[in-house]
């Protein structure tokens, strides 16, 4: 592979959106700025703009998802694209078709964009590498690797409340080890210039050497970790971790790492509480916090549509650009 970022075309425009890694602060800021414009579409009587009319977007979900898939679907529909929802786990691959054959068949239907969710890290990159040059791929979560649109909608939500990201302390709490969301969030926060990113987790769910490799501060105590922070991002605890001996029990996790109003009291008075959903009430946080005045969890969902519209339209817009020699254009 070349040194060129596989997500960008030769002019540096976003063609695929696979990971935050390697994207510039300017590009991430452009995504956030474009999303601001799309936020207003929800206020229109007709909640649609004709930008991607005639384009076909296929949601390829190899892993179940409700929120991510529906917000991607709604984002595509608000851009006037046509949407195919493929629940692959119950369709072709179950009948023995390979991933590439599924891909070729969809391309034969003239699909312009694939939105991919897969349990294997690197799946979206693989599809992007093998798809036709005119097709864009958006990663909607791959294994433990990345979930870049989730990270961007979180950045968007933070920016709308805090404006200046360059003075924030942000804490991410939960299963840092297995979380693609955390990985993308850390990269996005660092790229956008957030000076202090903390990760808070039990020892069994904290990767070794995360401080050195990601430039974050690691805490094993929730109270200490959220002190003076401006934003607390809670991660979802997956029930299967309980069975694999990494966590003792939901009850015990909540006793140590569950967010309550009392534990939040050391954070900044106007600290935001975020969660990518779905919430396990009484595991990651109690209802008082989840439904409390500092929670922006439902706002994250609405913002997710605008951010996904921004990413999808930027990628689709790039597909049609004629690469022009410098100093020339379609005059």
């Amino acid at each position: 592979m070349s040194k060129q970022n596989p997500q960008l075309d030769t002019q540096g425009n976003l063609k695929h959106f696979l990971t935050i890694e390697g994207l510039s602060r300017d590009l991430l800021t452009e995504i956030l700025d474009q999303a601001e414009g799309f936020l207003g579409v929800a206020q229109q009587a007709v909640k649609k703009v004709p930008l991607c009319r005639g384009k076909v977007v296929a949601n390829l979900f190899f892993e179940t998802s409700t929120r991510t898939r529906t917000t991607f679907e709604l984002a595509a529909k608000r851009l006037s694209a046509d949407v195919l929802n493929l629940n692959i786990s119950t369709s072709a691959t179950a009948k023995g078709e390979t991933l590439l054959d599924t891909l070729r068949n969809l391309e034969a239907m003239h699909v312009d964009m694939f939105v991919v969710r897969h349990a294997t890290s690197g799946a979206a990159h693989f599809i992007a590498a093998h798809a036709h040059p005119h097709v864009s791929v958006i990663n909607a979560g791959d294994g433990r690797h990345a979930h870049p649109t989730q990270a961007m909608l979180d950045m968007f939500t933070i920016r709308r409340h805090k404006q200046d990201l360059s003075r924030l302390r942000v804490a991410i709490v939960g299963d840092i080890m297995h979380s693609r969301v955390a990985r993308s969030q850390i990269l996005a926060l660092k790229t956008l210039g957030v000076p202090e990113v903390r990760v808070i987790a039990p020892g069994t769910l904290m990767p070794n050497s995360i401080e050195e490799s990601f430039g974050v501060r690691a805490y094993h105590d929730l109270r200490e970790g959220v002190r003076d922070v401006d934003v607390v991002i809670m991660l979802r605890i997956q029930r299967e971790r309980m069975n694999s001996a990494l966590l003792p029990s939901e009850h015990e996790y909540f006793q140590l790492f569950g967010l309550t109003e009392e534990r939040l009291s050391t954070a900044q008075p106007d600290a935001l509480v975020m969660h990518p959903g779905p919430i396990n009430r009484g595991v990651e946080m109690d209802s008082q916090v989840a439904d409390g005045p500092r929670s922006v969890i439902l706002e994250q969902v609405s913002n997710g549509i605008a951010v996904r519209m921004a990413v999808m339209s930027m990628c689709i817009g790039t597909q049609n650009l004629k690469i022009q020699p410098a100093g020339d254009a379609d005059g």
């Binding site: 601001e36 007709v46 339209s313």
Partner: protein
């Protein structure tokens, strides 16, 4: 535009807006319209609308439209780098609208703006007021109120500079105007310039 000169100075633009305000008042009276809603198109149209809104003493706040999501050249040149959210203070259903832009040329911006408005509701009527009007129409769109009429060659361009003072600039279009240009360039300053003051 390369090499620009002032075509109409601040006083001339101001006088043109005064004239537009008078014409609008007369037109509104003639049509029996009460309480119109004024909407400017980003960016120059908003500057002009701001002044007309004050001169006409319109009750509802000024609306702003960004037409970037309704452009007809998205599939050719991609996303516009600077999209501002559209804002309408109240619903447009059954309201009489005054749509304001700075320069009318091809008519494509107005086509897009009408589509935006109709996605917000069903207005009772729409009046089109433009500060300047020139040849080069590509769609059957005509203004109701015009401040300045420009006689220009095909390769000449006019452009509103603002917000303070408002000046009309005139210049020759470079043989190849860059379609997709970064922030800070001319196309970035006005979202409609791709269609109404640039060559296609």
């Amino acid at each position: 535009m390369s090499k620009t000169e002032i075509w109409k100075d601040a006083d001339a633009v101001n006088a043109a807006i005064d004239g537009m305000a008078d014409d609008l008042k007369a037109l509104i009276a003639e049509r029996g319209i009460e309480n119109p809603l004024m909407v400017g198109i980003h960016t120059g149209g908003v500057w002009v609308a701001d002044r007309l809104h004050e001169r006409l003493g319109i009750a509802d706040a000024l609306g702003h439209l960004d037409i970037s999501f309704y452009r007809d050249d998205f599939t050719r040149i991609g996303m516009h780098p600077q999209v501002r959210p559209s804002y309408l203070p109240v619903g447009v259903d059954d309201r009489h609208l005054i749509l304001v832009d700075d320069v009318l040329q091809s008519g494509r911006t107005i086509r897009a703006a009408l589509n935006v408005l109709f996605d917000y509701g069903r207005p009772a009527s729409v009046i089109l007021a433009t500060l300047a009007e020139r040849g080069g129409r590509e769609l059957p769109i005509a203004p109701d109120v015009v401040g300045l009429h420009a006689q220009l060659d095909r390769n000449e361009q006019i452009k509103l500079s603002g917000p303070e003072p408002l000046l009309m600039l005139r210049g020759k279009t470079p043989r190849h105007a860059s379609a997709k240009s970064g922030p800070g360039s001319e196309t970035a300053q006005k979202s409609s310039s791709h269609s109404d003051s640039g060559p296609t």
